[in-house]
C-alpha cells in the first residue's frame, strides 16, 4: 500500500530508481516502531521531505546547549537550498535517529557535519533526478531556491516531488557537495532555534518529563563517593525509619538502594530520613596527600613521543627551567542534577534521559538488564549543560533498576549531593616539565612527565549491584597530550612520558571538558613563559619565534591583537602596591583545532584574591558553520576556565568526597566574572574541527602567566585560592 501511494503521489518518481529500490518501499515501516540504528546509507534515515515543502533532518547528535542542533541544520539547509525556516530536527531516539556515535570530543560539527552534509547532498541529488523527469529538463540546468526547483521555465517544489513519502534511495557515494564559495547559510551567525522556548518556560528539559502512573524515585547512597572500586557496602537498612511516610517504598538490589513514592516530596523526605549503616570504606589519600601519593605510586609508564635527545639538549643549553605543577580533581557539576525516567517491562524498556550517546546508553542498559538491546528504546531529553561524562549514564541505570524493582514507570531526580558527590571527576594531575632555550631564544629541549589515572567504565549503579569496576578502554586522551604539551612549538629534542596510575585507588574519573588540558597547559606553558623571561624576551615574541605552523601563529596573533599586546618582558612592571595587575599569553588545544588566549588579571597581595579582569580567546576550528555559536563557546570556555583556575577543587578526605554542593564546591559568580573577548579565526576552506573546549588550555596558561607578570612568582598549584596565593607570595619572599 505504501508503494502504491508512493507511485501515485510521485508520478514519474520511479525514474532513476532501480527495481530493487522500489521493492524496498514495500518493506518500509512507520518511523519509530523499529529498533535502530537505521541504515546510514539510506537517504530516508537522514531526511524526510513533507508535503508543505519543509524538511525534517534526523540527526544523531545531542543538543547540549552548544547550538549543535541549529548548526547541523544550517549544513543541511545549505546543501538542500532550503531556508532555515523550512527545516527542523527531532529528538534523539534509538528507534528513530541514526547512530553517529556520541556527542563528545567536540564532534558534532567535526564528525557529524560531514555526515549530515553527505546525506543532504544525496537527498538533493535524488530530488533533482525527480525534478528533471517532472520538468522534462536536464539536471544540470536546474536551479533550486527555498526548496523550489526551476528549469525549462517551469518549477516544482520538493514537497510536490516527495511529499511525506519515502525516498527509498541508497547513497550513490558520488553526490556533489556545494562549493564553499557558494555558501549562504554556513558561515553566518544564524540565531539559535531553541532560545525562544528556553527563555519562556516552553522548553521541556528532562527534569519536566512525566508519564502517567509513574512513581518518583530517589537513590540512597553515602553522601560523597568513596574510593572507586570499593563501592559502598550496606551493613543494614532500617525500613522502620521512614514508617511516617506511608507511601514510600524501599527498593534494593545488592548495595543499590533507593526509595519510590507517588509524591515527589515524599520520595525526597524518605531518601533523607532512611537510616542506613554503611561499611567503613578503605582509606583514600585525601586532598592533602593526593599529589604525593600520585608521585610515589606504582605506575604504568609509556613514552608518548620522543625525538632528538632531551638529555643532551637540556644539559648543553644556555637557559633551563624545571618545575612541578599540580592540578586538582574537577567536577562536571551540571547546574541541574541529572534526571531520567524509565518504564521497564518484562520484555522491553523505554528510558528517557540526557545521555550524550543514546546508542551507547542502550548497550549499557542491555548489559544491566540482561535484555537484548533491540528491546530497549532510549530517548534523549536535554538536561542542563553536562560538559562531559557527568552522572547521565548513572542516573539512567539507576532509574532502570528502580523501575524494574517497582514494576512501574519511575522518574528519578538526582539530588545535588548525588550529582556532586558521585560524579566521574576530571582527574587530578601532576606534571613535571624540564625545558631549555639557547642564547638566541630558540627552544632547545623539552620534557614533560605526567601522572594521572584514567576514566572509570563502571557506573555507580552497576557497581552497587555487583558489576566489577573497570577502566575506560583506550589510553590516548586519558594521558599526556602531545598537542598541548609542547606540540605547537618547533622543538628539536622532545620527550613526553605518561605515568598511568591505577584507576581504582582514587576517585571515579571521567572526561570533563578539555580533559587534563588545563593541567597540562598550566605546567607546560608556564615553563615556556619562564624560558621567555630567562632569555629576556617578550612572551608573545618568544612563542612566535618558536612556531612555524601558520594556524598556531594565527590564533596566537589573533589573541594578542585583540588584547592590543605591546612587547615587554614579563614581570617588568612589578609594584610594591597591594593591588597589582598582570597580563599573560598562552596557547593550547585538546584533540584538534587551535586555541590562543590572553589574560589580564588583578592580584590582591594582602588578601590573596585573584580576579580575571579581561580574558581574550581565539580559536581556529577550520570552517566555522556558525561563528556566533563559536563565540558563545569561547565565552563559556573563558568563564569556565576562570572558575576552574580560581575556585574549583573537589575536596575529599580518607573516607570520601566532601564537595557536595555549591557551598563546598564554589564556582565563579557574577562579582568576579571577567570581561571576555572572543575571536573566531574563520577558515572556510579547511575541514571543520571541534570548538567546544580548545580555548580552555590556552586560557589556563594565560592566567598562570599573568600571575607571574603581576607578582614575579610562579604558581605551582591551582585553583588559586587565597590561602595558596598567600603561601606562594610569602614563600617567594622568604626564599
Amino acid at each position: 500500500m505504501i508503494r502504491r501511494d508512493f507511485l501515485k503521489a510521485g508520478g514519474a518518481l520511479v525514474v532513476g530508481f532501480s527495481l530493487r529500490d522500489s521493492l524496498v518501499a514495500q518493506e518500509q515501516v512507520v518511523r519509530g516502531t523499529k529498533a535502530g540504528p537505521p541504515d546510514a546509507r539510506q537517504v530516508d534515515t537522514w531526511l524526510a521531505i513533507h508535503a508543505d515543502n519543509t524538511a525534517t533532518v534526523y540527526i544523531g547528535f545531542a543538543e547540549l546547549g552548544q547550538g549543535a542542533s541549529t548548526a547541523l541544520l544550517q549544513i543541511a539547509a545549505e546543501e538542500l537550498d532550503l531556508d532555515m525556516s523550512q527545516i527542523k530536527t527531532v529528538r534523539l531516539d534509538t528507534n528513530v535517529t541514526p547512530n553517529q556515535g556520541g556527542t563528545y570530543s567536540s564532534a558534532s560539527i567535526n564528525r557529524g557535519g560531514p555526515q549530515v552534509r553527505t546525506a543532504a547532498a544525496e537527498a538533493r541529488l535524488a530530488l533533482l533526478k525527480l525534478a528533471s523527469a517532472k520538468l522534462n529538463a536536464p539536471q544540470d540546468q536546474l536551479s533550486v531556491s527555498k526548496g523550489v526547483v526551476s528549469g525549462s521555465g517551469r518549477s516544482v517544489t520538493y514537497g510536490e516531488l516527495v511529499g511525506d513519502k519515502p525516498f527509498n534511495v541508497t547513497f550513490t557515494g558520488t553526490a556533489p557537495v556545494k562549493p564553499t564559495t557558494e555558501y549562504k547559510i554556513v558561515g553566518t551567525k544564524f540565531p539559535r532555534n531553541d532560545t525562544p522556548a528556553k527563555v519562556s518556560a516552553q522548553y521541556t528539559y528532562m527534569q519536566y518529563v512525566r508519564v502517567p502512573g509513574m512513581l518518583h524515585g530517589r537513590v540512597v547512597r553515602p553522601r560523597g563517593q568513596r574510593m572507586y572500586g570499593a563501592g559502598a557496602k550496606i551493613v543494614s537498612v532500617d525500613e522502620a525509619s521512614i514508617r511516617a511516610i506511608p507511601s514510600a517504598r524501599v527498593l534494593r538490589k545488592g548495595d543499590f538502594l533507593g526509595v519510590v513514592a507517588e509524591n515527589e516530596w515524599d520520595a525526597v523526605r524518605a531518601a533523607q530520613q532512611l537510616k542506613v549503616i554503611w561499611e567503613t570504606p578503605p582509606a583514600l589519600p585525601g586532598n592533602a596527600g593526593l599529589h604525593e601519593h600520585m608521585r610515589t605510586a606504582k605506575t604504568e609508564d609509556s613514552i608518548v613521543l620522543e625525538r632528538g635527545n632531551v638529555t643532551t639538549g637540556l644539559s648543553g643549553a644556555a637557559h633551563t627551567v624545571s618545575q612541578t605543577c599540580l592540578g586538582p580533581y574537577h567536577a562536571h557539576a551540571p547546574f541541574g542534577p541529572n534526571c531520567a525516567l524509565a518504564d521497564v517491562k518484562p520484555d522491553s524498556a523505554l528510558v528517557m534521559c540526557s545521555t550524550q550517546d543514546v546508542y551507547g546508553t542502550r548497550n549499557s542498559l542491555s548489559r544491566l538488564l540482561g535484555m537484548p538491546a533491540e528491546k530497549i528504546r532510549v530517548q534523549y531529553y536535554e538536561g542542563s549543560g553536562t560538559y562531559g561524562h557527568s552522572c547521565y549514564d548513572d542516573v539512567a541505570q539507576a532509574v532502570t533498576l528502580l523501575s524494574q524493582l517497582a514494576g512501574k514507570p519511575v522518574r528519578l531526580q538526582f539530588m545535588r549531593w548525588d550529582e556532586h558527590g558521585w560524579d566521574n571527576y576530571g582527574p587530578a594531575h601532576l606534571g613535571e616539565v624540564r625545558a631549555a632555550a639557547d642564547a638566541n631564544g630558540k627552544i632547545a629541549a623539552y620534557e614533560y612527565q605526567g601522572w594521572q589515572h584514567g576514566w572509570s567504565n563502571t557506573e555507580t549503579s552497576a557497581q552497587l549491584i555487583g558489576t566489577p569496576t573497570s577502566e575506560w578502554p583506550g589510553g590516548g586522551v586519558q594521558g599526556v597530550n602531545r598537542l598541548t604539551c609542547g606540540g605547537m612549538y618547533d622543538i628539536p629534542n622532545l620527550k613526553l612520558v605518561n605515568h598511568k596510575l591505577p584507576v581504582t585507588a582514587y576517585l571515579k574519573g571521567g572526561w570533563l571538558r578539555s580533559p587534563l588540558d588545563l593541567s597540562f597547559a598550566f605546567a607546560s606553558e608556564q615553563a615556556i613563559d619562564q624560558l621567555a623571561y630567562l632569555t629576556g624576551t617578550d612572551s608573545y615574541e618568544f612563542r612566535k619565534r618558536n612556531m612555524t605552523d601558520m594556524r598556531w601563529l594565527g590564533v596566537l596573533d589573533a589573541a594578542a591583537q585583540a588584547a592590543k599586546w605591546t612587547p615587554r618582558k614579563a614581570a617588568a612592571n612589578l609594584s610594591k602596591a597591594n593591588l597589582v595587575t598582570g597580563r599573560g599569553i598562552g596557547v593550547g588545544t585538546h584533540l584538534t583545532s587551535y586555541g590562543g588566549a590572553v589574560a589580564e588579571i588583578e592580584v590582591n597581595k594582602e588578601t590573596g584574591r585573584v580576579v580575571a579582569k579581561h580574558l581574550y580567546g581565539a580559536i581556529d576550528a577550520g570552517q566555522v558553520v556558525n561563528p556566533g555559536f563559536v563565540e558563545s563557546q569561547i565565552m563559556g570556555q573563558l568563564v569556565q576556565t576562570a572558575s576552574r583556575m580560581f575556585k574549583e577543587e573537589v575536596k575529599f578526605d580518607q573516607n570520601g568526597v566532601t564537595s557536595l554542593d555549591w557551598a563546598s564546591y564554589p564556582i565563579l559568580r557574577f562579582d568576579e566574572c571577567p570581561e571576555v573577548t572572543a575571536v573566531v579565526v574563520q577558515r572556510l576552506d579547511q575541514r571543520s574541527t571541534g570548538a567546544g573546549e580548545e580555548v580552555m588550555a590556552a586560557a589556563a596558561a594565560a592566567i598562570a602567566n599573568a600571575f607571574f607578570d603581576a607578582t614575579g612568582v610562579r604558581m605551582k598549584q591551582f585553583p588559586f585560592t587565597p590561602a595558596r596565593v598567600l603561601a606562594a607570595l610569602n614563600g617567594a619572599k622568604s626564599a
Binding site: L64, G65, Q66, G67, P191, R192, D194, T195, P196, K198, V199, S200, A201, Q202, Y203, T204, Y205, Q207, Y208, R210, N263, E264, W265, V268, A333, P334, F335, G336, P337, C339, E382, G383, S384, G385, Y387, Q413, M415, R416, G628, S632, M635, G636, Q637, L638, V639, Q640, S643, D661, W662, A663, I667, L668, R669, F670, D671, C673, P674, E675, V676
Partner: protein
Amino acid sequence: MQIRVNERSWTVNAAPDTRLLYVLMNELQLQGPRFGCGLAQCGSCSVLVNGVETRSCVTPVSGVEGKSVTTLEGLPAWYAAQKKLAKAPALHPVQQAMIDEQAVQCGYCFNGMIIKSAELLSKTPRPTEAQIRTQMNGHLCRCGTYPRIMKAIQRASVAMAGGGR
C-alpha cells in the same frame, strides 16, 4: 489549600510542608521553576512572591498562602501590571533581551536569571554594572553566560525606559 500563582487561584493537595517547587512542577505542571540544588544556593527554582525573588525549593507551600506567586510563565503579565500596560507583551523585555543577546547556552539557569533580572529592573530601572553584579550574585551559571546576561539586563533596561516594550 488554595494558592495564587500567575494571577490564578489553584487548589493543591500537597501536604503543607511540601516545598513550593514540587507543587509548581508536579501539580501545576509549570516549566519555569526547576530543581537545581534544593538548598537555595543556585537560583534555578526562583519565583516572585509578592514581587520578591524567592527560592521555591526551600519554601513550604503553606508559606505562600494568601500571597501572589509569579513564575516565568506569568512574568509578561506581571510586568504589564507593574507598568500598567493595557495588554501583556509576549515576553518580558528582559526575556526578549536574552534572545537578542543570544545569551542562552543550556538555558537551565535562565529561569532564575530572568526572574531575578525582572525583580532587579522593577526596583532599579537603570542599574549600573556594579549593581547588576551585586544583585545577580546569588544566581549561578555553569555554562559561563554571565557576560551576556549582564549585557541583556542593560539592553532590557534601555528598552523599558523607551516605553515599556
